[in-house]
């Protein structure tokens, strides 16, 4: 009974009641704190600020509690235009008017308030604070990181409720339930891998499960092994962000410790993304000076087995790169090291080229490298030219069709 692919399991298998949530996470203090805040709220009281890492159920709890207690939910999140004006409108529309019939009242929910950014940010914070003070209905907010100094005015008028990362055992319990409903026989170890990679984030665990298990009758360790690689990629992006944003040498140097990537792989990631992060040639040149220094020392270390040089390699590639910035850190979209992808993609043509070089080398008393630089360019020209007896060359070198094709088409 596999489901149609367009229903996200995060929606389909969402807990619908407080009881169902408690079934997954057990008795949790934050649930009770939130419920009692809402129950006892009266105009003039503090707002509630739910905070914690993504995918631990902040939004879900607000939705479920509102439903169970009969509140009408007014929701705004980071994807909405969060300018001061938008908030003012919200104040006008909802907070001052109270429904007379049908529901107990309204609950204003501002999701992802740490995502406040751009023009009018300070104004937006001010508007929220005013909204909280004037509101005649309860206001609840959610954030991943509420400790940004800019959010301080909001913290001062809010009850802080912390959500912790979910335990692996809680996640596994929920994943098992989903598998049962979907008719999937899941290997316990596979679920454990999914749960552990999620690092306490239920949403990502359920998404991963769906990606790996949908349409299957059985879920084995093999079905989930690719998740590891993908996670490492996310990890790399975070590590790069920390590195490029670092303002002190030590912060940059520590990045290596917090990374799953080994230093050589990390170096490739830095190499790939340096020109994206640093666009001013001045800082780029300086950063690359350090990265190239790191590379020189890597060569020296590898050749001479001088492992004690590793510390310099790491200092150059992290602190050296981070301290080269002139302009403040700005958000940048990073990419996977292209060289790895390109080399993989070009593997076929490269193999053809290499075997041509090999043949030339053995016939012409040359190394493959010299065959590549001394003879190959001329072979290309000869194969492109109309007059050459290509067949003779092919036969003499022992080229097959794909090699001839390569020599003709390549330019």
């Amino acid at each position: 009974m596999s489901t149609p692919s367009y229903v996200p399991w995060t929606e389909k298998h969402k807990p619908r009641s407080i009881a169902e949530i408690k079934e997954i996470v057990g008795e949790a203090e934050y649930i009770d704190s939130f419920v009692s805040w809402l129950r006892n709220w009266k105009p003039g009281d503090k707002a509630a600020l739910l905070y914690g890492p993504p995918g631990v159920g902040k939004t879900l709890l607000v939705e479920v509690v509102a439903k169970e207690f009969g509140y009408e939910l007014f929701q705004l999140n980071a994807s909405d235009t969060r300018t001061e004006a938008a908030l003012r409108r919200l104040v006008g529309q909802s907070s001052k008017t109270v429904s007379l019939y049908g529901s107990k009242g309204k609950l204003i929910f501002l999701d992802e308030i740490d995502g406040l950014y751009g023009v009018g940010e300070a104004d937006a914070v001010k508007a929220i604070v005013e909204l909280i003070k004037e509101s005649r209905v309860p206001i609840v907010m959610a954030a991943n990181d509420p400790w940004d100094p800019k959010l301080r005015p909001i913290r001062e008028v809010s009850v802080m409720i912390e959500f912790k990362r979910l335990r692996s055992s809680s996640i596994i319990k929920h994943l098992k339930k989903i598998c049962a409903k979907e008719g999937i026989m899941a290997d316990e170890r596979a679920l454990k891998i999914v749960a552990e990679l999620a690092e306490g984030d239920m949403r990502s665990a359920v998404n991963d499960l769906q990606a790996a298990a949908q349409g299957k009758k059985r879920l084995t360790v093999n079905d989930v092994s690719w998740l590891r690689a993908r996670n490492r990629q996310y990890q790399a992006f975070d590590v790069l962000r920390m590195l490029f944003a670092a303002k002190r040498c030590d912060d940059a140097r520590n990045v290596v410790n917090s990374s799953l990537l080994d230093y050589e792989t990390l170096m490739l990631w830095i190499d790939e993304n340096l020109p994206r992060q640093y666009t001013d040639p001045e800082e780029l040149a300086k950063a690359y000076y350090y990265l190239a220094r790191a590379d020189v020392f890597l060569g020296r270390m590898n050749r001479g087995q001088k492992w004690e040089l590793l510390k310099y390699i790491i200092d150059f590639m992290t602190a050296g790169v981070a301290m080269s910035k002139i302009h403040p850190y700005r958000f940048t979209k990073y990419g996977f090291p292209q060289k790895i992808l390109l080399l993989a993609k070009a593997k076929g043509t490269r193999a053809i080229r290499e075997s041509i070089c090999e043949k030339v080398a053995s016939k012409c008393h040359l190394s493959k490298r010299k065959a590549s630089t001394e003879i190959m360019p001329f072979l290309h020209v000869m194969f492109e030219a109309p007059g050459l007896a290509k067949r003779d060359v092919s036969r003499w070198l022992g080229l097959d069709e794909s090699m001839e094709e390569f020599l003709k088409k390549h330019r």
């Binding site: 690359y288 000076y289 292209q338 060289k339 490269r350 008393h365 040359l366 003879i375 360019p377």
Partner: protein, 326 residues
Amino acid sequence: MAFKEELPALWVEKYRPKKLDEIVNQKEIIERLKKFVEEKNVPHLLFVGPPGTGKTTAALCLVYELYGENWRHNVLELNASDERGIQTIRERVKDYARTVALGDVPFKVIILDECDAMTSEAQWSLRRIMEMFWRTTRFILIANYGSKIIEPIQSRCAIFRFSMLSKEDIAERLKFIASREGVKLTQEGIDAIWYVAGGDLRRAINLLQAAAAYGGPVDDVTVYKVAGKARPTEVHEMLKLALKGDVLAARQKVYDLMINYGLTGSDIIRQVHTEVFRLDVPEPLKMEIEDLVAETDYRLVEGANEDIQITAFLAQLAKLGKKMAG
């Protein structure tokens, strides 16, 4: 003759001399080598000199004349830059030296080409290998630069320095080949080949054959056309992009060169060195770039990851480009 196989289709091979006497120039060297053949006594040899001056050819001619038809059984050709380290060289030499030489020459010959590609550690091992098998084998070591060969090896070898071929030498050989192949080669064609290839006979012959492949006479126009095509334009574009400040696009060219042309970082930097002087930038800037090229070339040898060094070079270029723009 010992060469019954099909005639080579590439002229560099087809017209590679088979006898010491046919070698272009290098007269004194040839005389001495002929003495070794007569006496059937060859010391370890070290041939040094620029590319395309006949080092490998001289080694091959020597063994052809020494062993005649049996040469294949008595000669091992190795290339230092192809072998995976000194360990494999040692293994191959050991296996090879175990069997006795065929015929009336009491030793076998190992030709080891491109020795200057070896690290000095590897050369020290090579020295020991030479020592170990001296009863049964002679080495002919070939390198571009004698100075890159460690002293203890130099002192165990008779050293022969191959000199750069003159324009007359090159012209004579080219005319000979052209007449054999029925190709019309003009004086302008010869001048152009000399301009492009200098004293490198291998490159000169390759140019001649590629130009002849267009069917018409080989004149300066066809030669420059071939030379232009044989030189990847990516290097030039890469430099221009970097100077404009687009390091990402410039790096894409580096990947193209590495993947499509199979060039190594050193190959690219060598190309850069010639391209720098063709760039449309103020003359003093060319020297600033050249300074960076030299430093990068050196670092490529020391570093681990070639494209990091090259991208670092491109980033420096972007900085220079920004300075130039004001």
